[in-house]
């Protein structure tokens, strides 16, 4: 089996004495789409920035594409494509000029063809000579993806690439990522969207600098061991408040005309809900979704974060 694309251990980084990434270890296999999740300020961006050499870890070690992450950052940069959270190309350059500049910086062979090919591939042709700042959010994101791919990287680091992008553009974006992964590209993507998390091969959940869970979607869900009931019927608003106070209930969330009630202990949850089942609402057990798992972890970690 080939070497993993990312294999780091014990990565730690603090700012002004505050630990932002704490002893983080992560392995991402080649060709894998790895989702990186966690609440705002959890250290996702910091970790990604350390991988692409924008920040230096305080401690830790490992390799990225077979190169040492601490000492070989310069060479890693040549094989990594990075897309920052904020649009970070030149607004006063056109789409073509931006790609051309990036291609020059990376020393791409047959630059003109590479740029033309990328414009074609990302369907950017109608906007090729438009200034980047005049593009809409979705097209800006496509341009940023194109720029991060222009030098044919082996690893893509994408920091919340789809924030503020409409569903169609997000769908196209993920199709593109899966196609690239099929060709052997590895991608590490941070996101807040659960549907996106479910599109990843594997996930890691990080909060307050600590890695709380990792694995496939099913593994992460199963590991948390939450039970979830779906409640449908009239008077859900009042009911939700009553249910929240019951023992064994961790979270109650409205999903359209239904309520999702989750708790860590299936038996205890069932016992708590049983007296209510005589009411006009219907109750049934439903599979726990990733969202409930993350909210559960978030609740736990924010309680821990406030210690």
């Amino acid at each position: 089996m080939s070497q993993p694309a990312i294999d780091v251990r014990g990565i730690t980084k603090s700012f002004d004495g505050k630990v932002v990434v704490n002893n983080l270890s992560l392995t991402v296999e080649r060709g894998e789409i790895y989702g990186f999740l966690g609440p705002n300020g959890s250290g996702k961006t910091t970790f990604i920035r350390m991988l692409c050499g924008l920040l230096r870890p305080d401690s830790g070690s490992g390799q990225c594409l077979g190169m040492d992450v601490i000492h070989d950052a310069v060479n890693i940069k040549k094989h990594v494509g990075y897309m920052a959270q904020r649009f970070s190309l030149y607004g006063d350059l056109s789409v073509r000029e931006n790609l051309d500049f990036t291609a020059r910086i990376y020393g791409v062979a047959n630059r003109k063809d590479a740029v033309a090919g990328m414009i074609e591939r990302m369907s950017l042709a109608p906007y090729a000579d438009q200034l980047a700042q005049s593009l809409s959010g979705g097209w800006k994101q496509r341009l940023a993806l194109a720029a991060s791919l222009i030098h044919g990287p082996e690893l893509l680091l994408l920091d919340e690439p789809t924030a503020g992008v409409d569903p169609k553009a997000r769908r196209d974006f993920w199709d593109e990522i899966h196609e690239l992964a099929g060709q052997g590209l590895t991608a590490l993507i941070s996101t807040h969207y659960m549907d996106e998390a479910e599109r990843c091969h594997r996930l890691a959940y990080i909060a307050y600098g600590d890695l709380l869970a990792k694995g496939t979607v099913d593994e992460v869900v199963a590991a948390r061991g939450l039970a979830t009931w779906e409640v449908a019927g009239p008077g859900l608003y009042e009911l939700a408040n009553r249910i929240k106070a019951l023992p064994g209930v961790e979270q109650v969330a409205h999903f359209g005309k239904t309520l999702h009630v989750s708790g860590p202990d299936p038996e205890k949850l069932k016992t708590s809900l049983e007296p209510l089942m005589n009411g006009p609402q219907s109750y049934r057990v439903t599979p726990t979704s990733l969202e409930e798992v993350f909210i559960s972890m978030m609740n736990q970690s924010s309680a821990a974060g406030q210690r």
Partner: protein
Amino acid sequence: MSLISPRRFWAMVVKEFVQMRRDRLTFAMMIGIPLMQLILFGFAINSNPQNLPLAVLSNDNTEFSRTLIAAMQNSLYYRVTEVISKESEAKTILKRGRALFVVTIPPDFGRLLARGDRPTLLVESDASDPTAAGSALAALSTIANQSLNRDLTGPLLPLQAAPGPVDLNVQRLYNPEIQTKYNIVPGLMGVVLTMTMVIITALAITREHERGTMENLLCTPVKPIEVMLGKITPYIVVGYIQMSLIILAARVIFQVPILGSLPLLLCVSILFIAANLAVGITFSTIAQNQLQAMQMAFFFFLPSILLSGFMFPFQGMPGWAQWVGSALPLTHYLRVVRGIVLKGNGLADIAPELWPLALFLVVMMTVAVKRYRQTLD
């Protein structure tokens, strides 16, 4: 219908004060710039300069010539910096600006004076800066005659009578028509370059940080020195365009005579342009945003224009101001430009001004590269 809501107005005022307090550097500049102006205008600048350097070329070793030298030394206007004996040296001193005046005492000065023949003192002045030379020159005749009168006692007493015991032959070199524009226009080249080069580069890199494009740039394999040289080079071209414009205007519109070699001027200007760009880059590594970069550029520009000798005679400033002025590239560049354009100076004459420029460039570039953050830490 009320035109102004005091509540809304006050909301804006409070918010502005809070933001002002957050931006420490801007706040410091708002206090620092007036203070600096106060000190510069109040103490350093003197449009009636005194203590100007004067060299004496003396071929006469009599009581009279010694009296004359002492009198000039004691006057407020002059400071006798060297007494020389070779005529060729006088030219060099003026060309390189070591003194603004050379007074030549003729060989038989004492004898002619005692005979009542009114010997002629040759006064050569560097008139490239008319304000520097003007009032000091006017005083020279009085100083010479009054001091010598004191020595004319006993049988020589009748020589005191008007028009005085000596005659002055004043030669205004380099700018005989006393045209202020001859001094200002070439100097303006240095000022314009300082202003635009520092501001443009300071903004150029700060903008990358402010817009977030630096984040993208930093994760490419590009090296700091490549970023800096790449940022500087286009503006060197701009600098040369500005220079060409000013030289053309000086020649065609202002009819400033250009005595020295233009290619030499263009060659050595690269040092000055690069020095200013290095300052700009250093500022950009300190400034958090474009406003701060702009303010820092202004903070640099103010002493440059006031203490360099562009607006006010350098030699007439107090010692500390000359020290500060000597640390600024514009001071040396002005001497280079004026030297080449007005005095026809060659490489040997301007060499003493080139090494400070080079030193400044090396120091600034080192600071800039050291401070340039290769990571976002």
